[in-house]
C-alpha cells in the first residue's frame, strides 16, 4: 500500500504535494510564534525542538543504520561544552555551533571505530562507557569548570531587529531544528542514506554489494554525533547554564527512549517521541502531592497513601517510572512506536470498510 513503485518517487523530498504544503504551513506557524507568544511557550517549544534534534540525530544511528548508542548524552555534553567554551573565547555563536558539530562528529568517528567489530551488546556497553566517561571528565577536570560547569556567555546573536534574547534564541533553535529535519531527510535519499539502511538490514549483504562498512558505520556515528552536538550547544544557551551532572546515563536512555517511543527508522517517529517525552518531562518534573488530590473519586486517599509511604523530595522521579513504563509497553505491544500506530490507523482508514 505504501509501496514506492518507481525510483523517482523514492527521490522526492515530499511524498505528495499536499504534505509539502502542510509542512510549509507548520514551519511558517512555528516561525511566527515569537511575534505573538510569551516566553514560556517559546521555552517549551525550544526545549522540544532541541530534543527533537537529538532524537533525529540518534535515529540516524539506531533507526537507519541499526547500531545502538547509550552514550548520546556524551555527545550532547561535548557539544554544549565546546559551544560555551568557544563562545567565551570570542567566537561568534553560529561559528561556535558549527565547530561544536565538528568536534562532536570527530568524537563520534572515534567511537564508531570500535563499532566495526562489535555488535549489539558489546556496542551498548562501549557507548555506555563513553557516556559515563565524558560526564566524569567534564565534572572532574578544572579546565572545564569542575562540578559547577563553565558560565554561559551572553547570547548576543540578533536575527530580527528588536527581538529579545529569548526570541532570537527561539529562532536560532527552530532554524537548526528545521535544518536538521531537511538535512536528514535529504541524507536518507542519497547513496549514503541507502548504504546506512543496507547495513541495518544485513551488513554482510551490504558489504557484498560494495558498501564500505568501515566508512559508513563510522560516518553514521559521526553524523549522529554532529546533530546531537549542535543540539547540546543550543541547550547550553537555552538553559543558561551547563551542569555536568545533567549529562548522565538517564539522559542517554531518555534520548534512546524518544527514538523508540516515536518509532525507529522514520522522520515523524523521533519527532513524535521527542514531543511526548519533552512534554511529559516538563509536566512531571514539577509534580506535587496536591496534584494527586485532583484525581477523581479517590484523590484524598491516594495522596494520603503516597505521603505515608513515599518521600516528598523524590516525587520528581515519578517521571522515570512513566518513561520506563512507556518503553516497556511500547516494546511489548507496538515495537514500531507511535509511528507504527499512525501507520496502522492510516492503513485502516485507507482500506476501510475492509
Amino acid at each position: 500500500m505504501d509501496m514506492k513503485r518507481s525510483y523517482y518517487r523514492d527521490l522526492r523530498l515530499f511524498d505528495t504535494w499536499p504534505l509539502g504544503l502542510w509542512l510549509v504551513v507548520c514551519a511558517a506557524l512555528l516561525a511566527l510564534v515569537p511575534f505573538f507568544a510569551g516566553n514560556y511557550l517559546m521555552y517549551v517549544l525550544g526545549y522540544i525542538a532541541i530534543n527533537a534534534m537529538v532524537a533525529l540525530g540518534l535515529n540516524v544511528l539506531v533507526g537507519y543504520t541499526g547500531q545502538i548508542s547509550l552514550g548520546h548524552a556524551g555527545f550532547f555534553a561535548i557539544g554544549a561544552y565546546a559551544t560555551v567554551l568557544l563562545a567565551k573565547a570570542g567566537v561568534p555563536i553560529p561559528l561556535a555551533l558549527v565547530a561544536a558539530a565538528f568536534i562532536a562528529a570527530a568524537f563520534g568517528f572515534l567511537l564508531g571505530l570500535p563499532a566495526l567489530r562489535l555488535e549489539g551488546p558489546y556496542l551498548a556497553v562501549i557507548t555506555l562507557g563513553f557516556g559515563l566517561t565524558v560526564e566524569n571528565i567534564f565534572a572532574k577536570a578544572e579546565f572545564f569548570g569542575g562540578a559547577t560547569g563553565p558560565s554561559v556567555p551572553p547570547f548576543s546573536l540578533s536575527l530580527w531587529p528588536g527581538f529579545s534574547r529569548e526570541q532570537n534564541l527561539y529562532w536560532l533553535i527552530m532554524l537548526c531544528a528545521g535544518g536538521t529535519i531537511l538535512a536528514i531527510r535529504n541524507l536518507m535519499r542519497t547513496r549514503v542514506g541507502r548504504a546506512f539502511v543496507a547495513i541495518r538490514d544485513s551488513d554482510v549483504a551490504a558489504a557484498c554489494a560494495g558498501v564500505d562498512l568501515t566508512w559508513y558505520k563510522t560516518l553514521a556515528f559521526a553524523v549522529s554525533a554532529a546533530f546531537t552536538g549542535v543540539a547540546g550547544g543550543l541547550f547550553a544557551f537555552h538553559l543558561g547554564q551547563v551542569d555536568p551532572t545533567t549529562f548522565n546515563l538517564m539522559l542517554s536512555i531518555l534520548f534512546l527512549a524518544m527514538v523508540v517511543i516515536g518509532g525507529v527508522g522514520s522522520i515523524l517517529g523521533p519527532l513524535l517521541g521527542a514531543v511526548t517525552i519533552s512534554l511529559l518531562n516538563l509536566k512531571l518534573k514539577g509534580l506535587k502531592l496536591a496534584d494527586f488530590e485532583q484525581i477523581p473519586l479517590a484523590g484524598k486517599e491516594i495522596a494520603g497513601f503516597i505521603s505515608r509511604h513515599f518521600m516528598e523530595t523524590g516525587m520528581a522521579n515519578i517521571q522515570f517510572i512513566v518513561y520506563g513504563g512507556i518503553l516497556v509497553l511500547i516494546m511489548v505491544f507496538e515495537p514500531l512506536g507511535l509511528y507504527g500506530l499512525w501507520i496502522r490507523a492510516k492503513r485502516y482508514w485507507r482500506t476501510w470498510p475492509l
Binding site: 547509550l70 549489539g120 551498548a124 562501549i126 555506555l128 546515563l249 518521600m311 522521579n317 520506563g324 511489548v332
Partner: protein, 295 residues
C-alpha cells in the same frame, strides 16, 4: 611516599573492590549466556534489594542475617517477575528490543526506589564495621573488605559448581546454545530463563549488599559498580564465568593502581579504557572461545 611499599595495600583494596565487580559481572553473564540479553537493570535491581534489606533491618527490626536473606529473596522475586512480566511478553523480540526493555525496567526500578526512599544517602549498619582492621604483613585489612572477598569467593565457587555440575546449569547452557532443540529435549525453556533471571538478581543483590556498607545506600549507588561489572564481563568474554570473575578482579586492581599512582579523580575512566583496549586486541575476551559469525 613509599611507592613499592604500598603496593600490597593497593592490590588488596583492588581485590576487595574487584570481587564486587566480579559478582556483578557474573550476574550479567548468567543472563547473557542463557537468553543473550544484556541486563541493564542489573545494578538498579540490586540497589532496590539493598534498600529492602535496609528497611527490614532498621524499620522491620529483623536480625542482620535474616534481613539480608529477606533482601535476597526479594531480589529473586524481582528478577523472576521482570522476566515473566516484561521480557517474555515482548512482541517479535530482537536483541535491541530486549535491551530496551531492560532499560525500561531499569528506569522503573530507579524511579520507584528514588521516589520511595528519596535521594539522601543512608548508612547500612553491619556487624562488621569498616573501622575494625587487622594488619597482616603491613597490609591494613578491614573486616568488611575481608568479608567482601570471602563472601564473593564463596558465592563464585558455589555458582561454578551449580552451573557446571548440576542439571539446572546444563539446562541453562543448552537453552543458550539452541533454544528450539533444548525445548524438544524436554527442557522447560521459559522456566530456565526465569530461573536465570532470578539467580542473576540474587547474585547482583549480594553485590549490592556488599557495596552498601562500604559506601552508602542511595539510588545512584550501583551505577559505578554496574559499569565496572559490565567492563569485567566484556573483559572475560561475556559467556565465560571464570572470565567474568577474573575480569572483575583485574578491573578492581587496575583501577586501584591507577587511582593510587596516577589520579583519583579519573579512576572511573579506567574500566572503559580497559574494555576498549581488550576489544581492540582480542574481541572475544580473555577466556571465551572466539565467536565466528556464520552467514
Amino acid at each position: 611516599m613509599d611507592i613499592l611499599g604500598n603496593l600490597p595495600q593497593v592490590l588488596f583494596s583492588g581485590l576487595a573492590a574487584g570481587s564486587v565487580y566480579a559478582l556483578v559481572a557474573l550476574a550479567m553473564v548468567i543472563i547473557y549466556r542463557t537468553t543473550e540479553v544484556l541486563n541493564f537493570a542489573q545494578g538498579d535491581m540490586a540497589m532496590m534489594s539493598t534498600y529492602v534489606g535496609l528497611g527490614l533491618l532498621v524499620a522491620g527490626g529483623l536480625p542482620f542475617f535474616w534481613a539480608m536473606l529477606g533482601a535476597l529473596a526479594f531480589a529473586a522475586a524481582l528478577g523472576a517477575f521482570s522476566e515473566f512480566a516484561f521480557l517474555r511478553r515482548a512482541k517479535e523480540p530482537t536483541v535491541l528490543g530486549l535491551i530496551i526493555i531492560t532499560l525500561g525496567i531499569e528506569m522503573i526500578v530507579f524511579g520507584f526506589a528514588s521516589w520511595k526512599w528519596g535521594g539522601d544517602p543512608r548508612d547500612l549498619p553491619t556487624p562488621l564495621s569498616p573501622a575494625d582492621v587487622v594488619v597482616i604483613g603491613g597490609v591494613i585489612m578491614s573486616y568488611l573488605e575481608l568479608a567482601t572477598i570471602a563472601i564473593s569467593a564463596t558465592t563464585i565457587s558455589a555458582l561454578f559448581l551449580f552451573l557446571n555440575r548440576s542439571k539446572a546449569g546444563l539446562a541453562m547452557r543448552a537453552t543458550q546454545q539452541n533454544r528450539a532443540v533444548a525445548r524438544l529435549m524436554g527442557i522447560r525453556v521459559r522456566r530456565v530463563e526465569m530461573g536465570a533471571w532470578a539467580l542473576a538478581a540474587v547474585i547482583g543483590g549480594i553485590a549490592g549488599l556488599l557495596v552498601g556498607p562500604a559506601t552508602t545506600v542511595e539510588p545512584y549507588m550501583m551505577w559505578d559498580p554496574m559499569m565496572k561489572g559490565f567492563a569485567a564481563a566484556v573483559l572475560g568474554g561475556m559467556t565465560s564465568l571464570a572470565g567474568a570473575a577474573l575480569g572483575g578482579a583485574i578491573i578492581g586492581i587496575i583501577e586501584n593502581l591507577f587511582g593510587f599512582y596516577v589520579s583519583t579523580a579519573f579512576k572511573s575512566v579506567v574500566p572503559f579504557a580497559a574494555i576498549l583496549l581488550m576489544l581492540a586486541i582480542k574481541p572475544s575476551g580473555l577466556l571465551a572461545r572466539h565467536y565466528v559469525k556464520k552467514v
